[in-house]
C-alpha cells in the first residue's frame, strides 16, 4: 500500500515536462541546499529535504503550506547539482500541486488575476504616464486581453478563478 503510493507520486512527478524524470537521480548530497540563497534566510527552507520527501512519496510533506513558495526559482540548486537533478523545476511542479490544494500566497494570486484582467502584472498610473511623457516615451504597446483569456481559458479555475468576486 505504502510502496504503491510512493511509486504513484513519483510517477506523477516524472510526468512533469521540465526535469520531472530527474528526481530519481538525487543522491541527497545536499549541494543544492548549500547553494540555496533562501536557505540562508528562511531556516525552514531546505531543497534537499523537499527532494528527499518527494523521493519517499510524501506528498503532504512536499507540498506543505507555503513552504515551496519560498523558492525564488533562482536555479542555483539546478546549477550546483552534480546529478543534473532539476531541483528548481521540481519545486515549480510542487508549487503547481500546492495551487491545486488552494495553497497560494495572496501576492501571487493578485499577480495572476491582474494578468487575466489586463494581460500584464501592472497597469499605467497617471504618475508614470507623466514620467513617460517627460522622457518623450510613446505609450506602452497595447495587449489584446481577449486573446490572452482565450488562450488561457482552461486555466481559469487553476489561476485563482474561484476567488473572482
Amino acid at each position: 500500500m505504502k510502496l504503491q503510493s510512493i511509486s504513484s507520486f513519483r510517477h506523477r512527478v516524472s510526468c512533469f515536462p521540465e526535469g520531472g524524470v530527474s528526481l530519481k537521480y538525487c543522491m541527497q548530497c545536499s549541494l543544492c541546499s548549500s547553494k540555496c540563497p533562501v536557505a540562508r534566510v528562511v531556516e525552514s527552507f531546505n531543497p534537499r529535504r523537499i527532494v528527499c520527501d518527494a523521493l519517499l512519496g510524501l506528498e503532504d510533506e512536499v507540498v506543505f503550506k507555503d513552504g515551496v513558495w519560498f523558492c525564488l526559482s533562482c536555479h542555483s540548486c539546478l546549477e550546483a547539482c552534480p546529478m543534473n537533478v532539476k531541483v528548481s523545476y521540481l519545486i515549480t511542479f510542487f508549487k503547481n500541486l500546492a495551487v491545486e490544494r488552494g495553497d497560494v500566497p495572496e501576492g501571487v494570486v493578485e499577480e495572476v488575476k491582474q494578468i487575466f484582467k489586463t494581460g500584464r502584472t501592472l497597469s499605467l498610473s497617471s504618475a508614470v504616464e507623466k514620467r513617460r511623457a517627460s522622457l518623450s516615451l510613446p505609450p506602452p504597446p497595447s495587449v489584446n486581453v481577449d486573446e490572452v483569456r482565450a488562450l488561457l481559458k482552461e486555466f481559469v479555475n487553476v489561476l485563482g478563478g474561484e476567488r473572482e468576486g
Partner: protein, 290 residues
C-alpha cells in the same frame, strides 16, 4: 541580425520608464534597430506564474514568441525575468515535440503558431555583441569609479539553456562596465540573488538579501552598483529607502547598465531621467562626472 523586437515587459514601462528611455537612447546611439513588440502580454513571470501553472506559463510565453516570429525578428529583452521565460520556454518547446503540438493546438484558437525560429537576447548580450572595444571607442565621458556589478539570477541560470555566460564566474557585464572607464570590484556575495521574488510571498524576508549585498558592496569600496534587471534595480534602489526607515543608512547609487552607458555616451542626467531614482545618484555624478 541587428534588428530586434523590443520586449518591454511590465515593470520597466509601467514603473521604471527611465530604464526604457536609457535603453532606447543607447540602442539608437549604437545604430541597433528595434521596434517595440506590439500586442505582447506579461512574459509571463518565471516564478509566480510558472509556480501557479507551468502550462499556463508556457502557453502565454509561446504566444509572445509567436508574435515576434510574425515580425521575423529576434526578441530583445531589458528584464532578466522576461529573458529567462522567453528563452527557456522556447527551448522547452523545441525539445519536446508533443508539448509543442499541444501548445500549438491551443494557439490555433487565436490564429497563432509557435515555430521556434527566432532567438531571444538580453540587451546586455546585444551590447556585448556590439563589442566592448567599439563601445569604448564611442564614449564621451569616461567614468572613474569602483563599481559593484550585480548579475542577478535570471540572466545566468539555467546556464545550459540561457547560454549567456559562465554561471560561476560571469564576465560579460564586468567587461562592459570596464569599457566605460570604471573598475569592477570583486566583493563578497557578488552572486547573491536580489530576493525580489520574495516580495510576493513575504516582503520582510527579502530585506536580508538587500542588506547583505549593500553591506558587502560598500565594504569593498563600491561607489555605485550596476545591474541588468529592473527587479534587481528596484530591490537595491527602492530597497535602500525602506532599509533607511529601519535604521540602516546606505547611500549607494544603483544604475541599470544602459543608464551608465548613456552617461558615458554623453546623455545628460535630465535626458536619462536619473532624478526618478529613489536613491540619489547626484552626489556620485557630481564627484565622478561633473
Amino acid at each position: 541580425m541587428n534588428d530586434y523586437s523590443l520586449f518591454l515587459g511590465c515593470l520597466i514601462p509601467f514603473r521604471l520608464p527611465f530604464i526604457e528611455a536609457s535603453s532606447r537612447m543607447v540602442l539608437e546611439a549604437l545604430g541597433i534597430q528595434y521596434e517595440p513588440l506590439e500586442g505582447a502580454s506579461c512574459c509571463p513571470d518565471p516564478i509566480g506564474v510558472q509556480g501557479v501553472s507551468f502550462k499556463a506559463w508556457l502557453y502565454l510565453a509561446a504566444r509572445n514568441l509567436a508574435l515576434a516570429e510574425e515580425e521575423g525578428k529576434d526578441i530583445l529583452t531589458l528584464c532578466s525575468g522576461c529573458f529567462e521565460t522567453l528563452k527557456t520556454a522556447r527551448e522547452i518547446l523545441l525539445r519536446d515535440p508533443a508539448l509543442m503540438e499541444e501548445v500549438n493546438e491551443a494557439l490555433k484558437r487565436i490564429d497563432r503558431e509557435f515555430r521556434g525560429d527566432i532567438d531571444v537576447l538580453h540587451i546586455v548580450e546585444a551590447l556585448y555583441r556590439v563589442g566592448p572595444r567599439r563601445i569604448e571607442s564611442l564614449i564621451a565621458n569616461p567614468l572613474e569609479a569602483n563599481v559593484a556589478v550585480h548579475y542577478g539570477c535570471h540572466l545566468l541560470r539555467p546556464s545550459e539553456v540561457l547560454g549567456f555566460d559562465d554561471p560561476e564566474n560571469p564576465r560579460k557585464l564586468d567587461v562592459l562596465v570596464e569599457a566605460l572607464g570604471p573598475k569592477s570590484l570583486n566583493y563578497n556575495y557578488k552572486d547573491l540573488c536580489c530576493g525580489a521574488a520574495m516580495n510576493n510571498i513575504d516582503r520582510a524576508k527579502s530585506y536580508p538579501y538587500i542588506k547583505l549585498k549593500l553591506e558587502s558592496a560598500t565594504k569593498a569600496g563600491a561607489d555605485c552598483m550596476v545591474v541588468a534587471c529592473p527587479f534587481c534595480f528596484m530591490q537595491y534602489d527602492f530597497g535602500q529607502l525602506e532599509l533607511k526607515r529601519k535604521g540602516y543608512g546606505f547611500a549607494l547609487p544603483v544604475f541599470y547598465y544602459t543608464e551608465m552607458l548613456g552617461l558615458a555616451l554623453g546623455f545628460t542626467y535630465k535626458e536619462l531621467g536619473l532624478a526618478f531614482h529613489r536613491t540619489s545618484v547626484r552626489p556620485f555624478l557630481e564627484e565622478k562626472l561633473f
